[in-house]
Structures are given as structure tokens and as C-alpha cells.
């Protein structure tokens, strides 16, 4: 009998549906609409079925081709990656529902295939246990994203898509060189195996490989000087795609950096080096967001800022810091993707992306606007929403390291939070209390789109008011990461 609790199904099923969409589009165009919903619905179910195994053993390894890990590629799921995989599947599921009502441009079947591929690639990036496979997953995600960013085919979309493509390709090349350097040094590609075999390498030897991998993943993960494609690409894409790009794709790349840094390059100097990237990312993201006139561009810059925040927490290199980072990732994924979905619905009604045109929209689109406010509050870290707990955790973790640099970083983080508050409140204020400008009839978004928004919003509210399970879970995940349980358990269970 098939053991459905197999992590590999998390990738295989969406891929199956990708090809099914291609196949079915030869016969009927309308089937393609609904297939992603099934794919990610199944995915969510499977991911939830894996939970007990992961809780019991701490780690689940799925082999391919019937061989043990260093020989063949394996998929590794521990608490953290499972959690991200669940979020990704969930977002995929919710956004697919949204898509059915949102996408009305040809060629639809290609869009759905690429969309499914994108989410599959994200999950792939999260759960793979092999470095070259990570590169492949990175490329799958990127190529799907390139196509989707250019989906509208207008001036902006094409330009954004091209910029993203060139930068992404350069990143891919660097990533590949880094992977190959590690292969040359160790003769293996499995992450855990590399971690074992590279122990005798000097820091200096590893550093260049690390820098290249970091650059490659950092481009996708929106770290400061490498993220210039993001503010162009996220707004240009259809909103449902932006929601996935912002919500989980950048996060997945950052997760990959987490994983690789923590497993293979666990040096204090590296964390120090990364902290500057994190803070710069935070500052440039938030400050740039403040000046935006385009609502989606503003959200995109805000994504950069959020990335900087949780990346900073990660570079603290302590259990509390990691826990804060994971909580912030959850917060960001849920809220930001919800915001993009809502904004997508609003843009449909308003017919413009300019913030000034959104005045008074909040009174007409009440449900959307309510959840927009919830999402923004959560991102700002206002209590009682979930973002408050994660920001709290991060600040506490930072100040635990009594160090004048940390105090300075905390001041920067909080200053940037003020900036974030400044632009979010500016928008909310205009939306709820501004006088509507145009005489365009503004209605609430369609029921299907609202369903997606409400599902995400309710999840966010639920974790806001009952964060205990998530706090416990992320604490476990963080201490797993700190104790290198990933390596230890993979060695024990994978039989490396």
C-alpha cells in the first residue's frame, strides 16, 4: 500500500498536475482552472499527514530510486522545512482558488501550469536534501516566475521579467559554481554528506564557495544589493503570483540560505558578515517603500524590509533569534500574501495601482479592507496580532547578546518599524477615511476571491490569538537547528 506520508509526494503531485494541465489543455481549456486547487489541496493533506512522523522522529527522509542518500537524491523534512512546506502548499491552495476568479487573460492554461510549477518549485527548494537538486529547484522556481512575471506582456511586465531573468540567470550561474566547488572539494552533493566531509576544509576555502551560493540564493531571496529585480517584478506580475513570490518564494530562498549556512558553514564570522546584509536590506526596503506611489511596489519594497528583519534574526545565531525569525517568516508569509491578494482585488475595482486612487475604497470593500488592516497591523507588529509576538521575540533575542552593536541594530529595526508604520498608516488612512476620487462604481471583490482572502485572514487571526502551538513548534524547530539535529538525525535515519 502506498504510504501517503511521503515528503516526495509534496513535489511529485504538483508536478503530476502540471503535466496533467498541459495534457488536458489539448482537450478542454476550462479544466486547467481547477486542477491546481486539487493539486495543492492534496498537498496540504499530505503535508499534514507527515506531521506525526516528523514530531515523532524529528526528521523524515524520503529516498529516490531506492538508494540511500549520498548515492541518490533524498528529500529531507524536519520541523522547520515541513512547516514551510505546509505554508507553501496552503498558500498554493488558497491562491489557486483565487486564481479561478482572478485570471481572465489568455493563455490561461499556460498560466495555471506555470503557477503550479512555481509553487512546486518552492516546496522543492524547501525540502530537498541535495545541493545540486537545490540548484535545479531554484531554476524551476525561477523559470516559472520569469514566465509569470511577464504574463501581462505589457511594457512594465516585459521589462521586469527581463531584468529578473538576467539577474536570476547570473545568480543561477554563481550558485552552480558554488555547488561545483563544494563537489570538487568533497566529491558528493548531499548536504549532510558535504557537511561531514567538508569538516577538514579551512574556513577560507569554504568561504568563496559560500559567498557564491549566498549570492545565487540571495538574488532570489531579496537581500539588499542583489534584490533590485524584486520591486520591478513583484508589481508587474499578476497579484496572485506576486502573493506567492512575496509570500513564500523569497522566504524559501532565505530558508535555503539558513539551511546551508547552518549545516555546512556554521562560523561566527559568517553570521557577522550576514548581519550587515540583513540590516542594509531592512533599511533600504523600508525606506524605499515609504516613497512609493504604486501600491504593489510599496508592498514589494515592504517584502524586502521584512526579509531583512527575519534574516537579521537568523544572523543572531541563537535559539531565540531563530525562533523569532521563524515566527516572522510565518507572519510575513501569511500577511504579505494576503495583502497582495486583497490589493489584487482592489486594483480590479479601482483600475489603477496609484495609492491616491485608493482613497475611500475601504468603505466600499469592507471585508477586503478589514483584512488588509489586519495584515498590515500584523506586519507592523502591533498587538494583539501575530507580528507583535515575532517582533518581540526578535528584539529580545537581539538584546540578549549584550553588545553595543546589537543595541544599534535594535534601534535601526525599530526606526524602520516606524517608517513601516508611516507608510502603512498613510495607506490605511486614505483607504478608510479619504474621500473617493473617481466616480467609478466600486464593489466588493467577487466571492471566490474573498474566500481566499478570508481563509488566510482567519488563519492569521487564529495564530494571533492562539500563538502558543506555533511558539512551541518554532521553538523546537529553532533548537533543532541550533543543535544541528538536521545532521545528526539525517545521519542516524538516512544511514549515511
Amino acid at each position: 500500500m502506498v504510504n501517503l506520508a511521503n515528503p516526495i509526494l509534496l513535489i511529485a503531485i504538483p508536478l503530476l498536475f502540471v503535466f496533467l494541465i498541459a495534457f488536458s489543455s489539448a482537450f478542454s481549456k476550462s479544466i486547467a482552472k481547477y486542477l491546481p486547487i486539487f493539486a495543492f489541496g492534496l498537498n496540504v493533506v499530505i503535508a499534514i499527514m507527515i506531521i506525526p512522523d516528523v514530531l515523532k522522529n524529528g526528521l523524515v527522509i524520503a529516498t529516490t530510486a531506492g538508494f540511500k542518500p549520498p548515492i541518490a537524491i533524498d528529500m529531507v523534512v524536519d520541523r522547520l522545512s515541513l512547516f514551510l512546506a505546509i505554508i507553501a502548499s496552503l498558500l498554493g491552495f488558497v491562491v489557486s482558488i483565487y486564481n479561478v476568479f482572478y485570471i481572465d487573460e489568455e493563455p490561461e492554461e499556460k498560466f495555471y501550469a506555470l503557477f503550479t510549477l512555481l509553487v512546486a518549485g518552492v516546496i522543492w527548494m524547501i525540502i530537498t536534501g541535495d545541493l545540486f537538486n537545490l540548484f535545479v529547484a531554484f531554476e524551476v522556481t525561477s523559470i516559472a516566475a520569469f514566465g509569470l512575471v511577464g504574463f501581462h506582456r505589457d511594457k512594465g511586465a516585459v521589462e521586469a521579467g527581463f531584468k529578473y531573468l538576467v539577474m536570476g540567470s547570473i545568480g543561477g550561474s554563481f550558485l552552480l559554481v558554488g555547488v561545483i566547488m563544494l563537489y570538487a572539494a568533497t566529491g558528493t552533493l548531499n548536504i549532510v554528506d558535504i557537511a561531514q566531509k567538508s569538516a577538514e576544509l579551512t574556513f577560507q576555502q569554504k568561504f568563496l564557495a559560500y559567498a557564491l551560493i549566498f549570492t545565487g540564493l540571495g538574488i532570489e531571496g531579496a537581500l539588499f544589493p542583489l534584490n533590485a529585480w524584486l520591486p520591478d517584478a513583484h508589481p508587474a506580475a499578476p497579484s496572485s503570483v506576486s502573493s506567492i513570490l512575496s509570500g513564500i518564494m523569497t522566504t524559501a530562498a532565505i530558508y535555503a540560505i539558513f539551511r546551508i549556512t547552518n549545516t555546512i558553514f556554521d562560523y561566527n564570522q559568517i553570521y557577522f558578515f550576514l548581519m550587515f546584509f540583513a540590516l542594509l536590506t531592512l533599511i533600504f526596503g523600508e525606506v524605499a517603500a515609504f516613497f512609493q506611489k504604486d501600491i504593489k511596489r510599496m508592498l514589494a519594497y515592504s517584502t524586502i524590509g521584512q526579509t531583512g528583519l527575519f534574516f537579521f534574526a537568523f544572523t543572531l545565531h541563537s535559539t531565540n533569534g531563530l525562533q523569532g525569525a521563524f515566527m516572522q517568516i510565518i507572519n510575513h508569509s501569511l500577511s504579505k500574501s494576503m495583502l497582495f491578494l486583497i490589493v489584487g482585488g482592489m486594483i480590479m475595482q479601482v483600475g489603477s495601482r496609484n495609492i491616491d486612487d485608493f482613497a475611500g475604497v475601504g468603505r466600499k470593500m469592507k471585508v477586503s479592507a478589514f483584512f488588509l488592516a489586519v495584515g498590515m497591523f500584523s506586519l507592523m507588529g502591533l498587538p494583539p496580532f501575530f507580528g507583535f509576538w515575532s517582533k518581540l521575540k526578535i528584539i529580545f533575542a537581539a538584546l540578549q547578546q549584550t553588545n553595543i552593536l546589537m543595541v544599534a541594530s535594535v534601534v535601526i529595526i525599530l526606526l524602520m518599524s516606524v517608517v513601516e508604520g508611516a507608510y502603512f498608516f498613510k495607506l490605511l488612512q486614505a483607504m478608510f477615511f479619504g474621500k473617493p476620487k473617481q466616480d467609478r462604481e466600486i464593489k466588493e471583490a467577487s466571492l471566490g476571491m474573498l474566500t481566499a482572502v478570508v481563509v488566510l485572514g482567519l488563519i492569521l487571526l487564529f495564530v494571533s490569538f492562539y500563538p502558543t502551538p506555533i511558539i512551541d513548534f518554532t521553538h523546537q524547530a529553532a533548537s533543532d537547528l541550533m543543535n544541528k539535529n538536521y545532521i545528526n538525525l539525517a545521519l542516524k535515519l538516512g544511514g549515511l
Binding site: 538576467v166 557577522f272 498608516f425
Partner: protein
């Protein structure tokens, strides 16, 4: 006991939600729910009044435990919060009727109740994180209340929320610093840890927490949000903001100075001036400056609510001044003044709100002569301004007196003079209110003005009565204050129901006696006036100016630029506007930020690609240099 505090805290929040849902049914369901739930909260408050409780509730509903505690000071503030909130909600029912958009009103009541709940949470908080959480909730819910007031209120609200966030984050840093040291945020633990920590650390904590509280309490250099926010907010919200919300800053100051830092203050780790630790001394000076400057500014206002807003800054200055003296008399005076100010300032704002409700303007020079049309509102306003000016037998008198006395005993004469100046200035601006709104010539537009409906009158009645009662029987409030201060280690003050008996730290004081003397002298003066005045009674339009007959449209009484000559004297002080300094820096930061953004995200793919190469080059150079760049 455990359940009761939860109930008290939960009622407004649940009530807020139910009110919102009720609004979907009918607007009266909503109104009744709102009144009912605030009444319920007040009822619960009075039921549990003056009980003591310590511990945590709601194990894990909010992630970390909510730790609550009570002490008599808590109940003092809870009394202010719950009663003023109820009155404000009752007042809102008629006042906000003009708003047609249902959803706006539904959320308005919901937020009113939420603000109330958040303030209850702040006061009941037993650890800093609970405190901070409710503090933030209060900030953003009250922001939404402020922006209900129309176009101009949006800028005011924006300024308010940004300054609140800055203040809150300053607090946040302090809390996190404490946490990293103490690993606990419950008040006693924090106090213990702080008493053992170094002076620098303590000073940082005080400064950071102080910034947070000063923003909310609008002490002078951080007050710039208040005049806008309080004047632009809807009329029923202003009393809540001025009367209650800024008191939370005062409560916070009380908690840090005497709840958490008492040991540090006692140990005199800081140098002291006039036997006051230097930081407290600075706070005193800031408060005194607030008193004087805000009074001057209030005198110069042409807008009734703006005038009251500046007056709030000045009055909260008294509260902070009293709290910062450090003597039991001064602190008691500060706390008492917090209560009194809440009562009379709410009364004043409601009275002005009533005038705005009927006339639609709050510009002093457009009003006048309403005394016959709105007699009751007139009475309420007069009672309010007398209390504000600190005239016995109304309630402002005793608390101000206690603060003066405390300063006198510490021989801080200069501060005392400033406080006196503020009090005298108060006469000027409160007279302006009565004069411009109620006396003088009735504008033709306002011929048909009636007094406000009964639902708006009731809150004013209640506050008038409270003003008188607390004025004549200061012992009612002193009871709680002295009991509470004993718990914080202050020497008790002898008091009785009518004031202070012989042998009390501040000497004997019996309000009734002073009041009767004043009354008698007033009556005597009036008799003399009646006997010897040569005036005759005329109708409001029977007037002339320089031999010219005055048409009713013409404004003949002196109401614009009322204190112009006085303004010329104090003008040099206002050359330096704090707000302008802030704006300058904000603008500079904006220009700077924009400049760099444009140079980083140029839109040119070449530049972007070179970033990637540069990052890799730096790493490569680091490797070549032997990894020694750090």
C-alpha cells in the same frame, strides 16, 4: 477574585465586538449595546473596587501569560477610565448621529470600547509586556477614533500615530533591555533587578521609558501631536483623549518612578538637586515648561478645542510636576490632579462639543451670546472653567494647592513661580471661553439654537456634580490615593473628608471654609455691585458704536485677537517652534532617503548586475586577503 479581573478586562473588548455586530441589526441595538457594555464595565469596576489581586490570568490565550495586578492607585485610574468612557459613549449617541455611513459608526463604537478595554489593560497590567501590549492597542485604536473627525483630522491622526509608535518603540527597547537582564518582566522582579543594576543602565531605562510616556502624556518637547489630535478629533473623543488617554502617560511615569525605580531613587544613585534626583529634577523642569508655554499658547488660540488642547498640555504638566517631586505630598497632589483634570477637562470638552453640535463651529470669533440659548451648557462650562482655574470649592483647587505646597516645602521656588504663572494664565484663557462663546453678541446664524438633547446633557450633569463633590470632599479621592501610596512606600498624609486636618504635612485645609469665605466675599462684592453700579439692562441688540447704529450682522464685541497685546509681549518665545524643528528633520530625512533610493534602484539593469559582481568581488577579495576583512 481571579475571574473578576478577567471579566473587567474582557467586557469592553467583547462588548466592542457585540456592538459592531449589533450595528448590523439596527443602529439602536448598537447604541444600546455600547452604553450597556460600558455601563457594565463601570459596574464591574465598582463591584471589585479596592480589592487587591496579584497573579496571572488566561494562561495562554495571548501567547505569553497576561499578568494582572491591582493596587489602590489602579482603582483610581480605573475609576477615571470607566466612568469617563461611559459618559463619552452616552454623549456620542446623539452627537455622532450626523454620520450617515453605518459602518463608520459601528466601528466608532467598537473602537471606543476597545480603547476603554486597552486602557483598563494598561492599568491592570502586572508586568511590562502586558503593559506594552495594551499600550500599543490603545495607540492604534485611539488613532482610529481621532481620524473619524474629517479631513483635517487625518493629518492630526497621522502625526499622532507616528509619534505614538516612536514613543512605544522607545519603551519597547527599554523593556527588552530589562528583559535581557532580568528574564522576567513582572513588576517586583523588575524592581529587584533594577535596584541592583548600574546607574547608566537605570538612566537609560528611565530615558527610554520616559520618552514613551512623555509622548503619550504630551510633556513639552514631545507634545506636538496633541493640539492637532485633540482639536480635530470628534467632539466626544476629545474628552476621552484629553481626560483619560494622556493620564496613561502619567500612570506609566508613576509606575516607573515609584513602582520600579523606587529603590534606585531611594539609594540616590544619581546626584540630586533640591533633594530630588537629577533626572526627576529635569522632568520637573520639563513639566514646568509645559505648564507655562502651553498656557501662553492656549491664550493665543482662536479655536475653542485647540485652546482646551493646549490647556490639557499645561494641566498634565501639573500632574507630572507633582509626580516628579518625589515627596508624598507632591505625588499625592499629582495623582489627585490627574483625577480632577480628567473630570473637569472632560466636562469642558463635552460643553464645547455641545456648542459645536448646535452651531457647527468651534471658532471663537464666530460664536457669542449663547448664554440664553444654551443655559445649561453655559453652567457646565462655567463650572468646568472654575475648576480648571483652581478656584475653591471646585476640584482643581485642592490638588493644585497640594502641588504648590510640595514645591514650597522643597524650596523649589522657581518651579513654584512657573506653576503660579500657569495658573494665572489659565484664568485668561478660560475667561476667553466664557466670553467668546456665551457672552457678548449673538450671531444671527445662531438665533434658533437650542440647548442640547437630554442624552448629551446627562454626562455633563454627572461631571458637574463630580466636580463639586470632589472639590468639597477631597477626602473621597485622598482615601484611595493615600492608601495606594502607602503600598509604594510613601509617608502617609493625614487627611479627612473635608480636606486636611491640623498637623497634616501641608497644614490645615478645609475646602468648605475657604469656599465659604470666598462665597461670602463674592456675595458681598455682588451686593456692592448691585447697589452702586450705574449699569442698565439692555437687550442683546441694543447697542451702538461711536454713534453709529449697529446692524445685527456686524460683530461689535471684541472677540478676535482677544489677547493681542499680551501676545506681542510673549511673542519672542514662540519664534522657536518645536514642531517646525521636527518637521525640518523629517523633511531632511525624506530628502536624504529619496536621494539614496534613486541612486540605488536606478532602473538600469547594468547597475543591478554590477551589484551582483561587486558582492562576489568583495567575497573574493576577502578570500584573497586571507579572510581578514573583519
Amino acid at each position: 477574585m481571579n475571574m473578576s479581573l478577567e471579566l473587567l478586562l474582557a467586557t469592553p473588548f467583547i462588548g466592542g465586538l457585540l456592538t459592531y455586530i449589533g450595528g448590523k441589526v439596527h443602529r439602536w441595538v448598537r447604541n444600546i449595546f455600547a452604553v450597556l457594555f460600558s455601563l457594565l464595565t463601570l459596574g464591574e469596576m465598582s463591584l471589585f473596587y479596592n480589592t487587591t489581586f496579584k497573579g496571572d490570568v488566561w494562561g495562554s490565550l495571548f501567547g505569553s501569560k497576561l499578568i494582572l495586578q491591582t493596587n489602590p492607585i489602579t482603582w483610581l485610574f480605573l475609576l477615571i477610565v470607566t466612568s469617563i468612557s461611559l459618559l463619552v459613549i452616552v454623549f456620542s449617541v446623539d452627537d455622532m448621529k450626523h454620520e450617515e455611513d453605518h459602518i463608520v459608526l459601528d466601528s466608532y463604537y467598537m473602537q471606543l470600547l476597545f480603547v476603554e478595554g486597552a486602557m483598563i489593560g494598561i492599568v491592570l497590567a502586572g508586568d511590562l509586556i502586558t503593559f506594552f501590549m495594551f499600550w500599543e492597542i490603545m495607540s492604534w485604536t485611539s488613532y482610529f477614533l481621532i481620524v473619524h473627525g474629517g479631513k483635517k483630522s487625518m493629518d492630526a491622526g497621522y502625526k499622532y500615530i507616528i509619534m505614538s509608535i516612536i514613543g512605544a518603540y522607545a519603551m519597547f527597547v527599554a523593556i527588552a533591555m530589562i528583559y535581557s537582564k532580568a528574564h522576567s518582566l513582572v513588576y517586583p522582579d523588575v524592581a529587584l533587578v533594577l535596584s541592583q543594576s548600574s546607574p547608566t543602565f537605570t538612566i537609560w531605562i528611565i530615558i527610554l521609558l520616559g520618552v514613551g510616556f512623555f509622548v503619550k502624556a504630551a510633556v513639552m518637547p514631545l507634545h506636538t501631536w496633541l493640539p492637532d489630535a485633540h482639536s480635530e478629533a470628534p467632539s466626544p473623543v476629545s474628552p476621552l483623549l484629553s481626560g483619560v488617554l494622556i493620564k496613561m502617560g502619567a500612570y506609566g511615569l508613576f509606575i516607573i518612578f515609584y513602582g520600579l525605580m523606587s529603590a534606585n531613587l531611594a539609594k540616590n544613585i544619581m546626584p540630586s538637586i533640591f533633594s530630588t534626583p537629577v533626572l526627576l529634577y529635569i522632568v520637573q523642569w520639563l513639566a514646568a515648561l509645559s505648564i507655562v508655554l502651553a498656557t501662553f499658547l492656549a491664550i493665543m488660540q482662536e479655536d475653542a478645542k485647540r485652546l482646551l488642547a493646549y490647556s490639557s498640555i499645561s494641566q498634565i504638566g501639573y500632574v507630572v510636576l507633582g509626580l516628579a517631586t518625589g515627596t508624598s505630598l507632591g505625588v499625592a497632589g499629582g495623582l489627585f490632579h490627574a483625577l480632577n483634570h480628567a473630570i473637569f477637562k472632560s466636562l469642558l470638552f463635552l460643553a464645547v462639543g455641545a456648542v459645536i453640535y448646535r452651531t457647527g463651529t468651534r471658532n471663537l470669533s464666530d460664536l457669542g451670546g449663547l448664554v440664553k440659548k444654551m443655559p445649561f451648557t453655559f453652567v457646565a462650562l462655567v463650572v468646568g472653567i472654575i475648576a480648571l482655574a483652581g478656584v475653591p470649592p471646585l476640584n482643581g483647587f485642592v490638588s493644585k494647592w497640594m502641588i504648590y505646597e510640595a514645591l514650597l516645602q522643597k524650596k523649589e521656588v522657581f518651579l513654584l513661580i512657573m506653576a503660579f504663572v500657569g495658573s494665572t494664565g489659565a484664568f485668561l484663557y478660560v475667561y476667553r471661553l466664557v466670553h467668546s462663546i456665551f457672552l457678548g453678541q449673538l450671531s444671527q446664524k445662531h438665533e434658533n439654537v437650542k440647548d442640547v438633547p437630554i442624552l448629551m446633557q446627562i454626562p455633563m450633569w454627572v461631571l458637574v456634580i463630580a466636580t463639586v463633590i470632589y472639590g468639597i470632599f477631597p477626602g473621597l479621592a485622598m482615601d484611595v490615593i493615600v492608601k495606594g501610596m502607602k503600598m509604594f512606600g510613601f509617608a502617609p498624609i493625614a487627611y479627612n473628608l473635608y480636606g486636611f486636618p491640623q498637623g497634616s504635612t501641608m497644614g490645615a485645609l478645609k475646602v468648605i471654609n475657604i469656599a465659604s469665605v470666598l462665597m461670602i466675599s463674592f456675595v458681598v462684592a455682588w451686593i456692592f455691585f448691585l447697589l452702586f453700579s450705574k449699569s442698565r439692562k439692555v437687550s442683546q441688540y441694543d447697542n451702538y458704536a461711536a454713534g453709529q447704529v449697529v446692524t445685527p450682522e456686524l460683530k461689535y464685541n471684541y472677540s478676535f485677537g482677544f489677547y493681542m497685546s499680551f501676545g506681542r509681549v510673549i511673542k519672542p518665545i514662540f519664534k522657536i517652534s518645536i514642531e517646525r524643528i521636527y518637521n525640518y528633520w523629517v523633511d531632511a530625512a525624506k530628502i536624504f532617503g529619496d536621494y539614496y533610493m534613486r541612486r540605488v534602484y536606478t532602473g538600469n539593469l547594468e547597475t543591478y548586475n554590477s551589484y551582483i559582481v561587486i558582492v562576489v568581488t568583495i567575497a573574493a577579495a576577502a578570500v584573497l586577503l586571507g579572510g581578514k576583512i573583519w
